[in-house]
């Protein structure tokens, strides 16, 4: 970000950029006003039609979407007309900002509204505002709290994944042959879709009767290798699959960090007679802390969304032992069509994870300052 002032300065020192004529500015403003009016006009017509006040309207809301797109385009054009070069610069950012704002802000607020209704897609009555009923149900819902508890386990498991990934990164960073082969092989699981992995590992490798993993377990002395019937083993099995997919991600980040580290420091330590163990804990590990923190925090954020594997392998079973919040809400939508309550659960979860992630980032940055 430190470079931006220099470019800004260079542009100001350029021979006076042509002043924008007042007429052009006004035309630009007029254009934006006109587009806004058109958008609100189309919107109003449709709102009145949808609420049954007027008879004329569109079949669906699609025209409003087109009007919004036209409005966004006009807004961009108007910016350039009114503000000239500064408008051109704003044009870089506008599409992404408008897109994200439209796609996120509206659904989030609309979701808040749904969350306070008793809307069930399978009932004929439509949605009714039901105040805090959903909150009360949520507080008394043991399965939801159970799913939240499972999330704690899944998040803590990230540390184990991190440890394994670190070992793998160190191995790949060692002086080895065929590094390219190993790197590609290690990375491949990350490319595969969790749904395919659910079948490949969860439903076939871990299959009770014929799965090779079950056979291996029997060979090793576990008589009834049922991977998904007892709560803790089921949770572990889910985590094994998740690790299989995600460890490469952490590993690649750590490997990049290791490769960026200067060799001199560790060589110097070797000359000074440090054992590999010492030089790892006193040099490599501390130097890798920033990368480690990035990798772990990113992985935790992804972990909070964990759902696909659970949905496809156990559907949360046995007895909700493997449920994540996402998979629980997914079933609430899917099997019970309970839109209102499901959305309340989701919004509540969003609040929790925002608080959690903010606290995590705060703690991590404070801790990093103390350590370094």
């Amino acid at each position: 970000m430190s470079i931006s002032p220099s470019l800004a300065a260079s542009r100001q020192s350029r021979p006076a950029s042509p002043l924008i004529p007042i007429s052009r500015k006004n035309a630009g403003r007029l254009l934006i006003v006109f587009a806004s009016l058109a958008l609100s006009g189309v919107g109003l017509v449709q709102i009145l039609f949808a609420s049954g006040v007027t008879a004329a309207g569109f079949e669906n809301w699609r025209p409003v979407l087109y009007a919004a797109l036209a409005w966004a385009a006009t807004l961009g054009a108007g910016q350039v007309m009114i503000r000239g070069e500064r408008g051109q610069r704003a044009l870089f950012l506008l599409p992404a900002v408008l897109f994200t704002a439209l796609m996120v802000i509206f659904p989030t607020f609309f979701g808040l509204y749904i969350a306070f209704t008793d809307w069930n897609l399978s009932s004929f009555e439509g949605r009714q505002f039901n105040g805090l009923d959903n909150v009360r149900t949520l507080v008394d819902d043991p399965y939801y709290w159970n799913a939240l508890g499972n999330m704690v386990f899944y998040v803590v498991a990230v540390l184990v994944q991190y440890a394994i990934a670190f070992i793998l990164a160190l191995l790949l960073n060692a002086d080895i042959k065929a590094r390219k082969f190993f790197r590609v092989a290690f990375l491949l699981p990350f490319m595969l879709s969790p749904v395919a992995v659910s079948w490949m590992i969860g439903k076939s490798l871990m299959e009770y009767r014929f799965g090779p993993l079950a056979k291996l377990a029997r060979f090793l002395g576990w008589d009834s290798p049922a991977f998904f019937t007892t709560p803790w083993i089921a949770r572990l099995s889910i985590m094994i699959m998740d690790s299989w997919v995600w460890i490469p991600f952490i590993m690649i980040l750590l490997l990049a960090g290791l490769q960026a580290m200067s060799k001199e420091v560790s060589e110097a330590a070797k000359v000074d007679g440090a054992t590999p163990w010492q030089s790892f804990w006193q040099i490599t590990f501390p130097l890798m802390l920033p990368v480690s923190v990035t990798a772990v925090v990113l992985k935790i954020i992804f972990q909070l969304k964990l759902a696909d594997i659970v949905i496809n392998v156990t559907s949360g079973g046995p007895g909700g032992a493997t449920d994540t919040v996402s998979s629980f809400i997914f079933r609430e939508y899917r099997d019970r069509s309970n839109v209102g309550y499901g959305t309340m659960l989701a919004e509540f979860y969003l609040v929790i994870i925002i608080i959690f992630v903010v606290l995590l980032l705060k703690l991590v940055s404070r801790w990093m300052r103390k350590v370094t």
């Binding site: 609309f110 191995l171 065929a178 879709s193 079948w199 919040v325 839109v339 994870i353």
Partner: protein, 307 residues
């Protein structure tokens, strides 16, 4: 696997403590091979199972031609085996349609995300914006914070919204959601890329009379192209694998491959060969991307993580 444990050259490199060094190398390669096995075996298992018959599945035969005779059974059920490829097959048509949907959704979303994401990233790292109390830092944070948003929060409102917009079960609808999903990642990668481009190049272009957009299109984009490719490929992979939104927002028309795989998982029972064939076909493009475009994936993943 061409791996030798300790070549003479390496042994010569350090004469002292040779036994210790050799055992260390054995340990390193042992660990590497073990993990390579862990990473590759499920893939091998899936591919080989698609050529097995029931007996070979239940008896756990592993090596083709040695302990089982490969059979096109799994691929026949998909209509993709040599003897059925010429005939009409409803399963194959279904599969190809899902494949095409996945392709359209993931490539469309990635293109859109790279286009608007690159523009935004460029703007954020070259100009100073001020939007009410929001500065560049806040705008960047706004984009990145979208990463935290779990799909479940958006799923229901989107379902309702799309119903009203007649976008339910369309590829356009999926493209929009997927763009939203990968946009923060694209912006993150591209900001890192643009920051490495020396600003003098653009300044020269500006002095020569280029407009801001001219300088961006003629100078910056060609240099940043590898970065864009990395962002694009990573986005394609993420969108290709997406299941949650696809399961909720599409049904018969725009359903993608993961949804098809998931719906088959329950219904197929023990006919592993056809599930294996389907899984193999679904992961094949990704395995190829992983092998041949690994460089870009790594580049995309590590952008911004290492400073």
């Amino acid at each position: 696997m061409t791996v030798s444990y300790a070549t003479p050259l390496e042994q010569d490199r350090r004469k002292a403590g040779r036994p210790k060094l050799v055992s260390k190398r054995v340990l390193i390669y042992g660990a590497l091979l073990l993990w390579a096995f862990i990473a590759l075996f499920p893939i091998y298992w899936t591919v080989s199972t698609s050529f097995k018959t029931a007996v070979n599945v239940t008896q756990g035969h592993l090596v083709p031609w040695v302990d089982f005779e490969p059979d096109w059974k799994g691929w026949r059920s998909l209509g993709l085996s040599p003897d059925t490829i010429g005939q009409t097959s409803t399963v194959r048509e279904e599969f190809l349609k899902r494949f095409e949907n996945s392709l359209i959704a993931s490539i469309g979303a990635s293109m859109l995300a790279v286009a608007i994401g690159s523009l935004a990233a460029y703007g954020l790292c070259r100009f100073n914006y001020k939007f009410a109390i929001w500065r560049n830092k806040d705008i960047s944070f706004f984009f990145l914070s979208q990463l935290i948003l779990p799909p479940v929060v958006l799923a229901m409102p989107f379902l309702v919204l799309y119903k009203e917009l007649a976008l339910l079960d369309t590829s356009v609808g999926l493209i929009l959601v997927y763009t939203l999903m990968v946009l923060p990642i694209v912006i993150w990668i591209m900001r890192d890329q643009f920051e490495t481009i020396p600003i003098e190049l653009e300044q020269a272009a500006l002095v020569d009379g280029c407009s801001v957009w001219g300088a961006f299109a003629r100078i910056v984009v060609p240099i940043a192209l590898p970065g864009m490719a990395a962002a694009f490929i990573l986005s394609v992979v993420l969108c290709w694998n997406e299941y949650f939104f696809a399961a909720l927002l599409t049904s018969s028309n725009a359903k993608t491959l993961p949804v098809m795989v998931a719906s088959q998982t329950g219904s197929q029972g023990i006919s592993w060969w056809s599930m294996a064939a389907l899984s193999t076909a679904a992961i094949a493009p990704l395995v190829f991307i992983g092998i041949f475009l690994e460089r870009y994936i790594v580049k995309g993943l590590t952008a911004g993580a290492v400073k």
